[in-house]
Amino acid sequence: MSFQEKSAWVMCFALIVSGAFYAWTVLALANVLQTVPPPNAGGLAMGVIIIVAIAIFGHAVAALGNPADANAPEDERDRLVVWRAGNLSGVLLGALCMLSIVSYAVFENGHLLFHALVAGLVISQIAEYALTIWYYRRGV
């Protein structure tokens, strides 16, 4: 497994953990308030800290396994995989943003638009790393 693929696994895991944590805080607050809660800045900051911590630890472990591979520049195949995954996740991001806009048209709730946009950004980012792993394994 190349360093780029390991890096994609680490980021995918970090985003899933962080996204699940933020979703859990929002859902717990929604249960208490019985309405769509306002943005949770503390929860968002915690989510970012989780991503950074997992990314640093994960990349350090991955690099320790094979330092030469970690320092190697991206080759042609790596670039193609990144472009292809970024291309498809960009389409997904656009679709999720449009869905968020439609949700605002239906519910006219700014807090819901905020949470929908956070979800869209996190899901498209997870999709990008998942597609990167997929293309490394399946080939481009």
Binding site: P39, W83, N87, L93, C97, G120
Partner: protein, 145 residues
Amino acid sequence: MSFWEKGYLATGLAVLIAGAGYFYFVWQQSAGLEQIAPPNWGTFGAYLIVVTIISAGSFITLGSLEARAADDPDTVGDFDERDRFVNMKSLAAASYITSIGGYLALVWFLFHHNGDLLFHSLVGALMIGEAAMCFLHVFNYNRAY
């Protein structure tokens, strides 16, 4: 300049012009209401229709003009390996630009707490991402990938 390059240039300009028109209307409405105007679906729909018509119209017009001038009209609009690379690279970079716009809109919302302003910020981020995608196509074609 290739057929695709001209088409993306026209679409990018259409997004910028229609986007400027959209935000001019929002600004006018906001000035009238003395607060951020709520989403106007007529204006948003008009923006989408104008961009679609200009984009489709320019690709059709350019395609027919290129076909008249070309020795083999069937090859006009072919999407070869280089086009595929340029398309992937441009879309991938544009998705990062859209993401940055989305994150900035989210952070700004934490300060103003106005759903209408978040809506307009998100629409703006999508417009900038779309225009960036078109101009990145032109840039990557000229940079000779």
